[in-house]
Symmetry: C2
Subunit: 262 residues, 2 copies
């Protein structure tokens, strides 16, 4: 961990697109902490996970420049935005990356599908303290007032204390104003169920819309993001870049194999 001595540079992105209410609300708050550069998709990239764009080139258009604030829109994914910012658009290394505030939950296993969290993970891969923020309200007109208040608390903590190496934060905020507080917890084990609506097109070909609902597979556990969110608390899950299941390495030693040299 390392404290920040100069005026911080904060990179902001999201997956709902540069005009979304969540990013506008968080940028307003972040300007009190430092210089802010927004590099965000030119449209919604929900469900894009950690995807990168390899088939088409990326354009970055400067859409706003004022005292302490610059904003670029990019024809790419949230992860593309972070890569382009770190490698081409920023004139110095940012002290913090904030992704969001997302319109909708990214708790539990939704971290794997989320473009918001992909961007936060990409920031951590670049060695920069990174936070993904989400509000449990999918509406375009959602009220981010209280989400910003808790985001501010997390941002202040990270600017003051840094984050452990190879770690980024998944912060989810319950909808509505009756939030009770904030808890640092683990990711709940869950799954998405009933995921397709079936239709027929005018040429009588079947097609499918992805849909479904989330199910918490350990509703009794009280130390998970799903549980504390259901109790009215903001959840903060510290997340790892290392996907290895270390205890299982030894369980699988039967797979170790040396070919005989002939």
């Amino acid at each position: 961990m390392e404290n920040i001595k100069h005026r911080p540079l904060i990179l902001v992105t999201n997956d709902d697109g540069i005009k979304a209410g969540g990013i506008v609300a968080v940028v307003r708050m972040l300007k009190s902490f430092g210089d802010v550069v927004v590099v965000a998709p030119n449209q919604s990239y929900s469900g894009m996970s950690h995807a990168i764009t390899v088939k088409v080139p990326l354009y970055a258009k400067l859409v706003k420049e004022s005292e302490g604030l610059k904003a670029y829109k990019v024809n790419g994914t949230p992860v593309d935005c972070v890569k382009l910012a770190l490698n081409k658009l920023l004139d110095r290394r940012p002290d913090l990356i904030v992704s969001g505030i997302n319109h909708g939950s990214n708790s539990s296993i939704s971290i794997h599908y989320s473009g918001t969290m992909g961007a936060a993970r990409e920031g951590a891969l670049g060695g920069i303290p990174s936070i993904g923020l989400s509000l449990l309200n999918y509406s375009y007109e959602a009220d981010f007032t209280h989400a910003v208040m808790f985001a501010e608390r997390v941002v202040k903590h990270v600017i003051d204390n840094g984050l452990p190496d190879h770690t980024y934060l998944n912060v989810n905020v319950p909808d509505g104003m009756n939030v009770k507080g904030m808890k640092v917890v683990r990711q709940a084990h869950g799954r998405w169920v009933e995921e397709f609506v079936e239709r027929e097109d005018p040429r009588h070909r079947k097609y499918y819309w992805l849909t479904g609902h989330f199910k918490n597979l350990e509703p009794e556990a009280i130390d998970t993001d799903e549980y504390v969110l259901s109790e009215g608390y903001v959840s903060v899950v510290p997340c790892l870049l290392d996907a290895t299941s270390h205890p299982v390495i030894d369980q699988l030693k039967g797979l170790n194999h040396e070919l005989q040299v002939q």
Copy 2:
């Protein structure tokens, strides 16, 4: 873990598209283990990570049906293919999901960008033993002979023994025929560097192509996938669905907060 008693059903997908050499090679081998259903993208979806398609509906077209083998192509990502297979296309729950064999490495942090590994992770999220397979050769004409031999060994182990819950495998095979054996290891910590080529279009607008090379940030560590691959071994990394950094939960307890009820 649970042994399989009936003739196994194996779901196969990839991110290089249904016509790629790697999937054709692995399907030929898998037919000796059970009934095989291929549900794969109709084109290349490299770098799509765990992305899902939410803006357009999905079509699945049956393109092959013979004794013990069916194949569908889908206009979606690898994760879409797994979801559609599990929810709509398969008539029973598969015993195993194989994703690949990918044309190119998915070791170390590339797991986060990889559509191949996204599909394997989605299989594990569905509670099914899942394996992602990759060969360290990007060429469309790569020779998969020895990769298939090691894939067969891993598949046999998983069919005989299952996998621990919430775990999936990331298997990478060195290129060339001088492979020395196979080792179960952890994911190396690394990063992608120098990631954009800058060009100008005919209208004098700058654009960027994503590129770069991988750097192993712990080359001295001998228990990583990068190390054993460089030594000529197949790497097997058991991976977790849980992204939580458990030891950090306690380090961040300063973020826990109870609002005063007024």
